[in-house]
Amino acid sequence: MGWETWIITTFSRSLAYGTPLLLGTLGEIYAERSGVLNLGVEGMMIMGAYSAFTTAYIIGNPWLGILVAAVVGGAFSLIHAFASVTLKANQVVSGLSLTMLGLGLSGMFGRGWEGKPLPVSIPKITVSGLSKIPFLGPILFEGQNLIVYLAIILVPLLWYILYRTRIGITIRSVGESPATADSLGINVDRVRYVCVFIGGVLAGVAGGYLSVAYRPAWTEGMTAGIGWIVIALTIFAFWNPAYGMLGAYLFAALYHLSYRLQPWVSPEFLKAMPYAFAILVLIFVSRGTLQKRMGAPAALSLPYTRGED
């Protein structure tokens, strides 16, 4: 394989594997920006993967599967919103239980679906004109699917909303100082509900992408910790969608490149790599977070009750 093909494959595969990471990270950034830590990403994602697969299998339309995954992910996230915003429960524990519940339910109801081939999946497309562009063409416009583009388009959109619109200011102020936001007439609880819901929808779509686009199949626990890596990437990204994109694709590239070591190292070592990477990237950015607490919303994981604190 020539070095040019080698680089093109690396980039193209990173784009494909980075998509669920990116979608999940964007969603978690919104939830955390509003002050709600949602550790249930893994649970929402696997529920998305399960519901997308079964819908696509029964109805025969993978896009409907993605839609259902979005709805299921969103609905699932509302459990966490209810516990952490309305009941003011501990967000770490609530998120953990969401993950357990998601893994449990999808494992229980998904058992009969194990190993079934999916006849229809999200098609890979090639944009005939653009794919001829040297280098960038084969990476961006050959063999990717629409969800990959959706994730890329969401980055500037969500960045713009967060930093350049009134809605974004509202979200960030709720995450930084809910009491101040409240005194300005902002409905803190509603903003948090909406942001957690956005996180759930995107995690659901990310899961759906895994089961009807990336590798069209259902296996128990197929998200394999991606939801947790998303939480790490959110910190890595300093809660900024643009860095989120950088982190997701960089991580995906590392993951892909580690598989190039296949002839020399054992498969167990390769499987452990992404988790070690997740710790390493956090170590890498730790100086920034320690020195300035860069980006971390001040009220992250703190429930808000009017008249207290």
Partner: protein
């Protein structure tokens, strides 16, 4: 005269033990009802499922023994987690610490060549150290670099899982295992004694019970125990009082990781007598222990009760798995629901709702 019925919500200063008990009970019952709905959707009668769970765990000598056997690792991991959670260190990594404890003990059993009577004590000591070391890594990363403890402990679980996989497929794969991914069987001197005809490896059980009591005394009666509580409840006050975050965090994770390591030793020296696949060694004890510790309200003594409760669920889960054909993932459904209702109901501990009859 008009009679009005209303209710009043007031803040409760501190919930009494009785209130905590009834609220917890209510939460568990609510979780069981919702789990029953899922059984129904799955096509299994919830009443039959719960009957089977009860008869399979408490209804026979064998069932009772299995309940206790399941409770042993939950007890050890759970007691350790109460200590970590008290300092608000989110140790989600008991699963990995348990596995590394098992690895360390297996290494001693297979390769140390120690004489018989020294073997088991050495396994427990090395298992403790292994688990503690695995737990100290995220502790150091948190205190020194500010890394999120939930993520690091969780990622280290995955790393531990693949480490065990590598050992049993590679260097430690037993020549006598006939191609299976196991280590060789341990020498007889490395087997823990069990209560007659059961799989209750009683030395581990006794160890767990003793440690629960010791840890209760530790957190309620010693200076270090007090410091742990201050760090968890009011980090600012702890800083002003000169309590070392570093020392306390390392201490709680040394204990928490070490106890999980002991649980791993018990599983491989009491049940399997060899190192085998990570999901066979643990089946999620480390995760279930999080709920065990939380349900015990971070009280080490109460873990004795809550670990038995989850022993019932796990042993009963085994039975309905076989007789109703339900997948083992069911345990996660129970775990998730119970944890949800538990933290959801905590609002009832903070607020008192009283019904009033006004004239």
């Amino acid at each position: 005269m008009k009679r009005r019925v209303g209710f009043k919500v007031e803040r409760r200063p501190v919930a009494s033990g009785r209130v905590v008990f009834f609220v917890s009970l209510l939460a568990i019952l609510a979780a069981l009802v919702v789990a029953g709905i899922f059984f129904r959707i799955y096509g299994v009668s919830p009443i039959r499922a719960y009957q089977l769970i009860l008869s399979g765990s408490l209804g026979s000598r064998f069932g009772l023994a299995e309940t206790v056997r399941r409770a042993i690792p939950l007890l050890l991991c759970g007691v350790g987690l109460t200590i970590a959670f008290r300092a608000l260190f989110w140790n989600i990594g008991a699963e990995g610490q348990l596995l590394i404890g098992a690895v360390a003990a297996a290494g001693v059993a297979l390769f140390s060549g120690l004489p018989g009577p020294l073997l088991l004590p050495a396994m427990f000591i090395c298992g403790f150290i292994g688990g503690a070391a695995w737990g100290l890594i995220p502790a150091i990363l948190k205190v020194m670099l500010g890394l999120n403890d939930v993520i690091t402990t969780l990622m280290m679980n995955y790393i531990a899982i693949y480490f065990v996989e590598w050992l049993i497929h590679g260097p430690w794969k037993g020549p006598t295992a006939r191609g299976f991914a196991y280590s060789d069987t341990f020498p007889r001197a490395a087997w823990l004694p069990t209560l007659f005809g059961t799989r209750i490896h009683w030395p581990t059980l006794v160890l767990g019970l003793v440690l629960a009591v010791v840890m209760y005394i530790f957190v309620t009666r010693t200076r270090s125990g007090f410091e742990i509580r201050v760090i968890g409840e009011n980090p600012d006050a702890a800083r002003f009082a000169g309590i070392s975050q570093l020392k306390t965090t390392l201490l709680v994770m040394f204990i928490s990781g070490g106890f999980a390591g002991l649980a791993g030793v018990g599983e491989i020296a009491g049940i399997h007598m060899r190192l085998l696949g990570p999901t066979n060694i643990s089946m999620g004890y480390g995760y279930t222990a999080i709920i065990v510790a939380w349900l015990a309200r971070r009280n080490p003594l109460a873990v004795i009760v809550t670990s038995l409760l989850f022993g019932v669920i796990m042993a009963g889960g085994d039975v309905i798995k076989v007789s109703l054909g339900l997948p083992f993932q069911l345990i996660n459904v129970f775990n998730g629901l119970i944890l949800f209702f538990l933290i959801g109901s905590e609002i009832l501990l903070r607020y008192k709702i009283s019904f009033l009859l006004r004239r």
